[in-house]
Symmetry: C2
Subunit: 254 residues, 2 copies
């Protein structure tokens, strides 16, 4: 990524981060989020993106506008464009968590079998390209990978682990990627859903992960009227919630 | 609300929709969402707002930019400003649900005692002003209103019913209001939290309510490091989920 001026960044949607020619939504969010974080000088705390059109591989530009910069938080809008067409439109607030203070955690870490007991997503016909498969070391809960063999679990859930293949630490931008790197949870139902174009994705960054793979849980509870939700929780190895996500996606017919 | 031109609207933050002088977040979202819906000619499907500063009563302006208008969906950004200062920054996609198609609902309607068995929020010292109390007919689950008497339930939950006092039907804009019209769920814990300034609120409109009060459930599961989440579900009387919400808010100390 190259900074053109205070508010504009030149970058590239790299080949191989796509599924059937459309770049992964988490990858695009992390790319745009990185430009926004650089422009405001703080890490993402909550960021929303709307996906306007599919992104092929190729050069892109991110335009950032800071709408408020306070002592603790800064809010910015941005869009990512390719060939002059907007692909992502974003809104985020940036800043650090403030350690300590009142705390109440009403849920424990999600339960996932150990990393080595989980399985890599099956090599797909229409699945993520080589770069994504080589750079990430995602593991799925046994059974949750069955959809590719025509044996969906029957539950709209996708549980597992997220890590970088080289073991690199996962920062706030990595969490944005992790929030949309798993196969859609709805693939584990019997519904005739072949792809799930995201309309909107919001990620709340809730902590800085300790080193090691992250426990991830994604589920869709409401598939109806051409739309579905997908909620995600991401926990680190110390038992801390590090991110929450939710998206609204289209359910194309047939 | 008065349309100034294609993209600008003049409106007012009315007196009495405030809590301690700060206009209610759902009210402001509905106000800005109405301008955005008018500008793009479609109802809100998913809308995110970031709150930049408190809004006193007074005149405001909403500036809308349509970033994509497709056959089914349109995406727009907007900001609401007062005296030239941005108060809300918004991003939304607008359009209709598309009835039918694949469906899978993994959760039933939330359980709330009957409307008449629930209680009006207690008259508060620092609570919503007269307009909000007169226009809305919110009822809280017995026990969930105890926080005002110094008897919080101990659970970060706020369940109850939402209706307009005059029984008016609740449309998509009404759902935006309902998504942030209840007292914060965290008030039902023992934490020393006196107010909860919202950073970000996202609402997904999932259906058109049938006439009658709406069942609402709000809960905070993760209060930590100066931030909290609050998730909401809104169901209508026919047992249909009509909206989902989530917000990230600050937890001021002490």
């Amino acid at each position: 990524m190259r900074r053109i001026d205070d508010s504009r960044f030149a970058a590239a949607v790299h080949d191989g981060w796509d599924i059937g020619g459309h770049a992964n939504g988490g990858y695009l969010l992390a790319l745009a989020g990185r430009a926004m974080a650089e422009a405001v000088g703080r890490p993402p705390l909550t960021i929303t993106t709307h996906y306007l059109r599919p992104a092929p591989a190729g050069p892109c530009e991110i335009d950032v506008t800071t709408v408020r910069a306070g002592r603790r938080l800064a809010t910015a809008t941005a869009f990512l464009s390719m060939d002059g067409n907007r692909v992502l439109q974003l809104l985020g607030t940036f800043g650090e968590q403030s350690a300590g203070g009142p705390a109440a955690i009403a849920a424990g870490p999600i339960e996932v079998p150990p990393y080595d007991a989980c399985t890599a997503p099956p090599a797909p016909d229409e699945g993520p390209g080589p770069a994504m498969m080589e750079r990430l070391a995602i593991r799925l809960r046994p059974g949750d990978e069955g959809f590719r063999r025509g044996a969906p679990s029957g539950r709209a859930e996708m549980y597992g682990w997220f890590a970088f293949a080289d073991g690199a630490p996962i920062d706030a931008l990595g969490l944005l990627l992790a929030a949309d790197a798993f196969p859609p949870a709805v693939f584990n139902t019997d519904l005739p859903v072949g792809w799930v174009p995201t309309v909107e994705l919001t990620v709340h960054v809730r902590g800085t992960p300790v080193p090691g793979p992250l426990r991830c849980a994604f589920r869709s509870r409401f598939v109806a009227d051409g739309l579905l939700d997908e909620e995600g929780e991401i926990w680190d190895g110390s038992g801390t919630l590090v991110a929450q996500s939710r998206q609204l996606a289209l359910v194309p017919r047939g």
